[in-house]
């Protein structure tokens, strides 16, 4: 235990219970998680714990001192969560390691806040390993030997295991919900667990923006388990943009998800996230400013999206719009005998 913990612990023992709850409202969660009995508001923390019977302590499997120490650690962690809200990263750098055959990767990849970077490469080529290296803030200690710098500096080791310093939010392809909650309850719970200020306002924004992204709109009152694939994805992207404190978002294969992909990317980038997308979808791949090609476990090439490629975006968008309109026609139960206008 560090000196500061002892000092905090010493002061905490003399705080009155009502003041403790007032200053740290989340202490309720500590009481709840440990099944502690309700507290008399007028007693001091130390008295509260000293009144616990040995039988009760045995039941929950703790000794008295252990419980007070845990309360101190708990308060510290929760204060870290609050601070995590202000986590900001301007630049992430990947310094090359080696590929599966030990051939050095001669690269220095720099990604800046508000930038989209795409990752391409055959299945099994090592895309996930690159994402994992970034998430772990590897320091030459993973199979690839890569090193990650945050704002040009070596990140603190303790960040690796801190939930509050999670650099990376990962949106995977599977997007099931197992919690039996309405959309509003779900997003509120997430906001609460992140200790987001002005919670109501933020929850409303998340749901509103998710509805903009999703092809079909949904009400805040329906259960999350009733959302369609596209709606879930839209909700998670809006949620990540507005509630997650992680400055980097990893997206694995977002194609054909029934959401407006361009808007989704814009939303994340506008929130100054670094968006990393593993994709083979040409529309998404060209949206990025750079494209990393992975081969045999290593970064093979870094391509800057060229002017010509940017020009081709227009054609791809047209194609995508055309396909979307066809989809819409079918969804409405109409016939495709006459194709929608391609030139729109």
């Amino acid at each position: 235990m560090r000196t500061t913990d002892i000092a905090v612990g010493y002061c905490l023992r003399n705080v009155r219970m009502d003041l403790l709850f007032e200053e740290h409202p989340y202490v309720r969660d500590f009481f709840d998680a440990n099944g502690l009995p309700p507290a008399d508001p007028c007693v001091r923390v130390e008295e509260y714990f000293s009144e616990m019977s040995p039988v009760f302590l045995e039941d929950i499997g703790f000794d008295r001192e252990g419980l007070i120490d845990r309360l101190v650690t708990f308060i510290e962690r929760m204060e870290d969560v609050k601070k995590g809200q202000n986590l900001s990263v301007k630049k992430v750098t990947v310094l090359g390691g080696k590929d599966k055959n030990g051939v050095p990767e001669d690269v220095r990849l720099e990604m800046k806040a508000g930038e989209i970077v795409c990752i391409v490469g055959p299945t099994g080529s090592g895309k996930s390993r690159l994402l994992a290296d970034i998430e772990w803030m590897a320091q030459g200690d993973t199979p690839t030997g890569r090193r990650i710098l945050i704002d040009d500096e070596k990140p603190l080791r303790k960040w690796r295991f801190s939930l509050e310093h999670k650099l990376v939010a990962q949106l995977s392809q599977n997007m099931n919900f197992v919690m039996d909650l309405s959309v509003r309850e779900f997003v509120s719970m997430h906001a609460e667990s992140r200790m987001v200020p002005d919670r109501r306002e933020r929850v409303r924004t998340v749901i509103e923006q998710a509805n903009v992204l999703a092809g079909e709109s949904f009400s805040p009152d329906i259960p999350v388990t009733a959302l369609s694939g596209g709606q879930s994805r839209a909700l998670m992207i809006a949620d990540t943009a507005f509630l997650s404190s992680s400055p980097i978002v990893l997206i694995d294969e977002i194609e054909n998800a029934g959401i407006n992909r361009k808007r989704a990317m814009d939303l994340l980038v506008r929130r100054d996230k670094i968006v990393l997308v593993a994709t083979h979808d040409p529309l998404l791949a060209l949206m990025g400013s750079q494209r990393i090609s992975i081969r045999n476990g290593g970064i093979d090439k870094i391509l800057q999206t060229s002017k010509e490629e940017n020009e081709h975006m227009k054609t791809l968008e047209k194609l995508d719009g055309f396909l979307n309109r066809c989809r819409e026609v079918l969804r409405n139960g109409e016939s495709l005998e006459v194709l929608p206008d391609f030139s729109l």
Binding site: E58, F74, F161, A169, H190
Partner: protein, 228 residues
Amino acid sequence: MKVITVSGPPSSGKTSVVLKAAWEMKSDGLSVGAVKFDCLSTGDRKLYERNGVDARTGLSGSLCPDHFFVSNVEECLSWGMERSFDVLFLESAGLCNRCSPHIQGVTAVCVIDNLMGVNTPKKIGPMLKLADIVVITKGDIVSQAEREIFALKVRQANPGGSVLHVGGISGQGACELVSLLMEGEEIESISGRSLRFAMPSALCSYCLGETRIGKEHQMGSVRKICLE
């Protein structure tokens, strides 16, 4: 030898996590052994050995699996020492949410999964709350927000430990888990060490094989439920 106790509810992915970690350790040239405690039957020895981990299994049968674990842990350690493993995993059956024989000074891992529901972390006792490392599995089948909420609930129940996600199928995070496991101290002998918390108090007549129901058949340490 690094000794690691692994606990967690049934089917949370304990064996998968150990196998993925063992694979990473073996590719670093370490020798790995495992003892799996189970209750009635287990096919895990084969599973371990197919993955190149020398393993033994122990079945508790009619005994409390955690009592069985702690009464045999010394022997397991000697077995590991004889074979001079670099790392020995001791995997418990994970049947009781309160107990799991975490030992003072021996790295204790608790494995739970994202599908267990948001209230599970607080329902699990010292097994989760006193573990050094909590591994959360099955993150690939829930949303990012659910992973975050669940991890925070775990953090609330165990504010002091390290919490990390490992994919039991993909192995994502296993390499990271290993670097944490290798920080544990070298253990030569376990005799005389203490459990981190006491096992449930015994002994009532049902512990001794009584099957009949009714007050007259209940003896020993009996506590009554309060239905007020």
